[in-house]
């Protein structure tokens, strides 16, 4: 039996009149990489933004249905019944464009979650978190001598890894990545993809991508969305070689998208 970390029940999300996500039931497997793919505007981003309650920040946004975070087998959190701040600390997020905080140094960016939330860290603890997390995202060797510099000096790929580090430093159960490489060049993209593979031992990863190739390369499970609906979900090997739904077939062969 696979170990589920995040489960949705009849999740429906809308903006104003437009329903972006319709009735999605999805179970994300722990310590695996799940890719959510589909043509643009199919609701992928909205779906993961429902996972950490970022969706409700948009004007006139509405969510129905339930999302459960299963921290371990006996602690299940209904994320829409607790404080969103708490949810977001347990379910981290990385965005399309790298967005390190410009006023903070690299060091501060890594522990930004603690600084901004007003959680006091001992100097030695902070040092340890910074080093450990930066090592996890293979950035430590590149930046260890310039930790006090501002994050904006890094390259796009490095900035994105810094943002991943920032999310990881909060020790979340899940991190959501919303097309994390769409603003990066191919080499930086490859590095991030390799990084995800290493990270999945410590954290569950959900990645939204419109790039079929990327979904194929990095994921263990794929969810294919079309017009707000979850069309197909399963192991990547299966979905990529013999999808059971015609729409998936068409999308993978480039006929829609």
């Amino acid at each position: 039996m696979s170990d589920i970390v995040l489960r949705t029940e009849n999740l429906t999300a809308s903006y104003d009149e437009h329903i972006a996500v319709k009735n999605v039931n999805l179970s994300i497997v722990r310590n695996k990489i799940t890719a959510i793919m589909g043509p643009s505007g199919c609701g992928k981003t909205t779906l993961i933004r429902c996972f950490n309650r970022m969706h409700e920040l948009s004007p006139k946004a509405r969510v129905e249905g339930k999302v459960f975070l299963i921290e371990n087998s006996n602690e299940v959190i209904d994320i829409y019944s607790v404080d969103p701040m708490l949810v977001r600390r347990k379910i981290g997020m990385v965005f399309q464009k790298p967005n390190p905080f410009p006023t903070m140094s690299i060091y501060e960016n890594v522990i930004a979650g603690y600084i901004l939330n007003g959680i006091r860290l001992k100097k030695s603890d902070a040092d340890e978190i910074v080093e450990e997390t930066l090592k996890k995202v293979s950035l430590w060797d590149e930046v260890k001598d310039q930790l006090r510099k501002k994050g904006a000096f890094l390259s796009g790929g490095q900035q994105q890894r810094l943002c991943i580090a920032r999310a990881l430093a909060m020790k979340p159960d899940v991190i959501l990545l919303d097309e994390p490489t769409s603003a990066l060049d191919p080499v930086a993209t490859m590095k991030i993809e390799e990084l995800l593979e290493q990270l999945k031992n410590t954290v569950t990863i959900v990645i939204v991508t419109h790039n079929v190739g990327q979904a194929g390369r990095v994921s263990d499970y794929v969810a294919f969305m079309y017009l707000g609906e979850l069309v197909e979900y399963g192991p990547t090997d299966v979905i990529f070689t013999r999808p059971s739904h015609e729409k998936t077939e068409e999308f993978l062969s480039g006929k829609i998208g």
């Binding site: 390799e194 190739g213 194929g216 390369r217 090997d237 990529f240």
Partner: protein
């Protein structure tokens, strides 16, 4: 990620190669030593196993292509593995054929002492081994060498056929046994052909050149 998976695939195909190789060897040994159990093992255990592995390799290849869209050498490698996989499975079938004939022969008196057949089998097994080795080591020279050795096997086969014909002419009761012996040598010859195919594929992987169907000579000329 991709290379990890590709390496796993390579390991798998080598495993299949080794298995198939041992099947030929077992079936010939079973014939010489009149070891019925060994021959039955080839038919009942090894052959179904190769079928399973074949499907497994097929799926791995397709998944790799579907998910990673490999290009150039990686693509050639996967496509070649796909073909090798097919060849190996057929070799396994032939080893099964040999075992079947062997099962028939060991119940009956020997038509003649087995001299050429073990030599031919030995040579065939070596060809198969070398072709797989050339794949493992990415050694086009060895692969080309395998292709050249196909002629030796053909010679053995002709030699055995001629001999068997003389037996069949002189003694009609020997015909059934002779046909089984001929079947064994024919299967060995076909195995050698498939080994040659694998050799050609290895050249294709490494050098990207097609040396099949006589194009081999041109490449030689071009290289010289």
């Amino acid at each position: 990620m991709f290379y990890e998976k590709l390496n796993k695939l390579k390991e798998k195909i080598i495993e299949q190669g080794n298995l198939v190789e041992s099947m030929i060897e077992k079936s010939i040994r079973g014939l010489i030593n009149k070891d019925k159990a060994l021959l039955l093992e080839v038919i009942q255990v090894d052959e179904p196993r190769t079928n399973e592995v074949e499907i497994e390799i097929d799926e791995m290849c397709i998944s790799l292509i579907a998910r990673f869209q490999p290009e150039a050498r990686d693509l050639r490698t996967i496509i070649t593995i796909l073909k090798m996989n097919n060849d190996l499975e057929r070799i396994a079938d032939m080893a099964e054929n040999i075992s079947e004939s062997a099962l028939f022969l060991i119940e009956r008196p020997l038509l003649k002492p087995l001299i050429d057949l073990p030599k031919m089998a030995e040579e065939t097994i070596r060809m198969l081994k070398d072709s797989i080795d050339s794949f493992i080591k990415n050694d086009p020279k060895l692969a080309k060498d395998v292709c050249e050795r196909d002629d030796i096997i053909d010679a053995y086969r002709d030699q055995i056929l001629r001999e068997l014909i003389t037996y069949m002419i002189s003694d009609p009761t020997s015909i059934e046994r002779a046909i089984h012996l001929e079947r064994i040598s024919r299967n060995l010859e076909r195995i050698a052909d498939l080994a040659t195919n694998i050799g050609e594929d290895v050249v294709y992987i490494v050098e990207g050149k097609v040396i099949k169907h006589g194009r081999y000579k041109d490449t030689e000329a071009g290289d010289a």
